[in-house]
């Protein structure tokens, strides 16, 4: 266990190749402490999965990394910028390096799939209509979606909506891609397909990927690093093999999927 009380099982802390570095991040809502001194380093050009029991702080941590929330204290360094010290205007410049896939996709209901995917380019770039069309088609093809340009999100299956949302997150060629439980609500076959797509996309574009997931241990197949968050702290960090062989009681119980009675000890709400 390191000096912060976190069990670290590898030497990823303090490397120079980190796309994201989180230091002593703290956040509370009213009297409830959600993040209690999180320390995490996300290596560049790798897939890092954040796993943990419900209520452990995974999604709140992700919302700090994608700049939807401001921490009470601590720092977050994204691609060299300490985002906790930036103004809202400066944060927008950092946001342009990020792509985000929300749990339910968050596609805009009133727009077609083409319009959804083109949206970041239309609003934030000076690309011509032809360039935008070419980029959108290329991105939709890369996620395995063809022929759905004129369909609306409600006309697509859950898996196809996730692919479309992934295309929208990638179309502006971000450096860092964040995914919030991308396989929630999907059957095992589609879950595997999405995992493979994430890995292929990460390799194709050289992305840094941060993914919150409930799909343990399946998600370990696509992860380079795993961070296990428990009661607002990173309890375990390392490669999937290191983490699963760490023989940490709490992690082992989480992995075994104990019943709700144990969930209270795991910090689940």
């Amino acid at each position: 266990m390191n000096k912060d009380g976190n069990i670290a099982t590898n030497g990823a802390h303090g490397t120079d190749q980190n796309a994201i570095a989180v230091r002593d991040l703290r956040k509370r809502f009213g009297r409830q402490v959600v993040l209690d001194g999180v320390n995490l380093e996300v290596p560049g050009a790798m897939v890092t999965c954040i796993v943990g029991p419900s209520g452990g702080g995974k999604t709140v941590l992700l919302k700090h990394l994608n700049l939807l929330m401001r921490a009470d204290s601590g720092s977050i360094i994204i691609d060299g910028d300490d985002v906790t010290r930036l103004s809202n205007r400066a944060l927008n410049q950092v946001r342009e390096k990020l792509g985000m896939l929300f749990q339910a996709g968050a596609l805009f209901d009133s727009m077609s799939i083409f319009e959804n995917v083109a949206f970041p380019l239309v609003e934030k770039t000076d690309l011509s209509d032809d360039e935008i069309e070419a980029r959108v088609r290329d991105t939709l093809n890369s996620v395995g979606l063809e022929g759905v340009d004129n369909k609306f999100p409600s006309e697509l299956s859950g898996g196809m909506q996730k692919r479309a949302a992934l295309a929208r997150a990638l179309v502006h060629r971000p450096k860092i891609l964040m995914l919030d439980e991308p396989t929630t609500g999907l059957d095992p076959a589609r879950t595997g397909a999405i995992h493979r797509l994430i890995r292929e996309t990460q390799q194709k574009y050289g992305l840094t990927v941060v993914m919150v997931s409930h799909d343990v241990p399946q998600v370990f197949e696509v992860c380079d690093r795993v961070a296990f968050i428990h009661r607002g702290q990173i309890r375990l960090y390392g490669t999937p093999q290191e983490v699963t062989s760490a023989h940490d009681e709490i992690f082992d119980r989480f992995l075994a999927g104990r019943a709700a009675g144990d969930g209270a000890e795991l910090g689940a709400n």
Partner: protein
């Protein structure tokens, strides 16, 4: 200890109320600021003018016609007791232009377009579409609220004017054509007693009501809670609060401008 807890709860509720009021005010100040700063969104504003204005047109025509007709009927019956049927045009037009036109038009638009606005923004909030805009470095207030605010400022006075004209016509149809009030007196009364101040009063009221309705409905939708009843609650609260504020502001503006 029980008393202490009560005091703490009371204090927290006061602080929560002040916090909510502050957020409410900052929300609209933000929307107004972003409406006047680039990047401008004319297409979005025009789309909202269509939704708030053009798509409310038929409803306004319908409501105003019946309102004018009722005014003509009631007004004629009341004035006839005093032998003052000739004042019907003055009565109908001033009532509509100064009061019923702005108030009823605003209430109808709040019920139709305001509720839809709250529901749309609430649905976007609960499905993280608003968060998606933020993560894409697009200011959601500037993208979603400012165009609606500008569209409301443009649409409400126009629709109110339509309401007034159709209502006056409705009063004429019932009061003059059906009931037999003197037609020339109806029109002359309007021309003689309707002043610029009356018209300006009506327009100012419609502008204020437009800002209030857009403000409340957008705020409620934007801050809808992410739960099963979040959107429905936001929509209901938006319409109720808009309606109450329209009537409250009507009193204040009437008192100031009379």
């Amino acid at each position: 200890m029980v008393v202490a807890d009560l005091i703490v709860d009371f204090g927290e509720s006061i602080l929560d109320g002040i916090d909510a009021l502050g957020k409410f005010i900052l929300f609209m100040l933000g929307a107004a600021y972003y409406a006047l700063t680039p990047p401008y969104k004319p297409r979005l504003m025009i789309r909202q003018i269509r939704i708030i204005g053009a798509e409310s047109f038929f409803l306004i025509v319908l409501i105003s016609a019946f309102t004018g007709m009722v005014l003509g009927l009631q007004g004629y019956n009341s004035l006839r007791r005093f032998g003052s049927e000739g004042a019907l045009g003055t009565l109908v037009s001033l009532t509509l232009v100064r009061e019923l036109g702005p108030v009823l038009a605003a209430l109808m638009i709040a019920a139709r377009a305001g509720s839809a606005m709250a529901a749309e923004l609430g649905s976007m909030q609960t499905t993280e579409q608003i968060d998606a805009l933020t993560v894409m470095a697009i200011n959601p207030i500037q993208y979603l609220v400012s165009p609606r605010l500008l569209a409301g400022i443009i649409s409400f006075p126009l629709l109110t004017s339509v309401f007034d004209v159709i209502g006056i016509w409705g009063g004429y149809m019932i009061g003059v054509v059906l009931m037999g009030a003197p037609g020339s007196s109806y029109m002359n009364g309007i021309a003689t007693y309707m002043t610029k101040h009356d018209i300006i009063t009506g327009i100012v009221k419609s502008l204020v009501f437009g800002i209030v309705v857009i403000w409340v409905c957008c705020y409620k939708g934007y801050h809808a809670k992410r739960m099963a009843t979040g959107v429905s609650r936001a929509t209901t609260e938006a319409v109720v609060l808009s309606s109450v504020l329209i009537l409250a502001w009507d009193y204040f503006l009437t008192a100031v401008m009379l």
